[in-house]
């Protein structure tokens, strides 16, 4: 994510729409992409991204510069995405869409319709098998390239918890790939 000058943040906090647009331009691709990987479908990702930017707009005045702006934006994105995911799961359970929930909970990550030749579909299926917390850690590491210290700051968790979640996520991914016999030629 491109660094955003402090005066732009201050102007946006004061209500300047042009400065806020600059913040949006610099961070929207990161926010949307992370939301998409956390929530699987574009509609949910758009909803999450919209909520994230409204939260940013509403709380820019309270941004205290103790952490970097990037860390702050990632934190809002991950928290919003996890909350959205849980809310959606709850709605689906209430509506009685048990086939979807059960497949996710017990059968693990794979559904029959996934074609294993398609890398993006394998990735989506593999990520679906992880808990939202594990998914957040592994995505921040592999996709965003954050180190363990940065991840612990973004998620406000201990360094050892980051380590454990990343390890468990990789174990699950490997196990799933071995089970389905996915080779290196993806």
């Amino acid at each position: 994510m491109k660094s955003i000058p402090a005066d732009i943040i201050k102007q946006a906090a004061a209500g300047d729409r042009t400065s806020f647009r600059m913040i949006y331009e610099a961070s929207s691709a990161y926010v949307y992409h992370l939301a998409l990987r956390m929530n699987e479908n574009p509609e949910d990702a758009k909803e999450v991204a919209q909520e994230v930017f409204l939260k940013i707009y509403g709380s820019l005045g309270r941004f205290n510069y103790r952490s970097s702006f990037k860390t702050w934006v990632y934190r809002i994105t991950i928290n919003t995405a996890i909350n959205h995911y849980r809310r959606r799961l709850k709605e689906q359970k209430i509506r009685g869409e048990w086939h979807w929930v059960q497949k996710r909970d017990s059968h693990g990550i794979f559904s029959d319709e996934v074609s294993w030749n398609d890398k993006s579909r394998i990735r989506d299926a593999v990520l679906r098998g992880l808990s939202p917390e594990q998914r957040a850690c592994i995505l921040l590491r592999e996709m965003e390239g954050l180190n363990y210290q940065e991840i612990s700051e973004v998620l406000s968790i201990k360094l050892n918890t980051v380590r454990t979640r990343i390890k468990r996520a990789r174990e699950k991914i490997l196990e799933a790939m071995r089970k389905e016999g996915i080779d290196d030629e993806m």
Binding site: Y24, P42, Q50, L54, M143, I173
Partner: protein, 164 residues
């Protein structure tokens, strides 16, 4: 030599992500040179997991996202005085967290030292008073007529004499 279990833990996290210190990295590499099972795991994780999750380009947000955000911002109610009051006071209601800058630490030390000195002064004053009282009592002889007289009296009269 490190045990396989420990090495495999490192392979799945710190070693692969280059978060290990040089000493441990060396120990893991030494183990990998000798253990085929761990070497295969390292190779597998490196070739399968990383490339699967890394993406060449990010998905762009839909063009309608910005207009939706703008619409939501405009639909928001203007900040009322009550909300403004809350926003102003909210930071002061947060629990205080110490800021360990050198000036504060110095001032804190000075305050503690002043407190200790004041306490010692108080203790000295009380000790002086008690010593005087004890010395005074030691000067009074048990053969003093006053004590003799008090000893002869009945309890009622004794208290009565004190009253007088």
């Amino acid at each position: 030599m490190m045990k396989c279990e420990k090495v495999q833990d490192f392979i799945l996290s710190d070693y692969l992500d280059e978060q290990l210190d040089s000493k441990r990295t060396l120990a893991v590499e030494k183990h990998l040179a000798q253990c085929e099972q761990c070497r295969e795991l390292a190779q597998e994780v490196k070739e399968k997991v990383g490339p699967l999750l890394k993406e060449e380009r990010r998905s762009s947000p839909p063009a309608s996202l910005w207009s939706s955000i703008e619409k939501d911002i405009e639909a928001r109610p203007a900040k009322s005085p009550q909300r403004f009051f809350w926003v102003c006071w909210k930071p002061s209601l947060r629990p205080w967290t110490p800021q360990w800058n050198p000036l504060w630490v110095f001032v804190l030390c000075l305050m503690i030292m002043a407190g200790v000195v004041r306490y010692q002064q108080q203790v000295r004053t009380v000790n002086k008073y008690l010593t005087e009282q004890v010395d005074f009592l030691a000067l009074i002889s048990w053969d003093d007529p006053l004590f003799y007289y008090l000893g002869e009296l009945s309890p009622g009269a004794w208290w009565g004499s004190l009253w007088i």
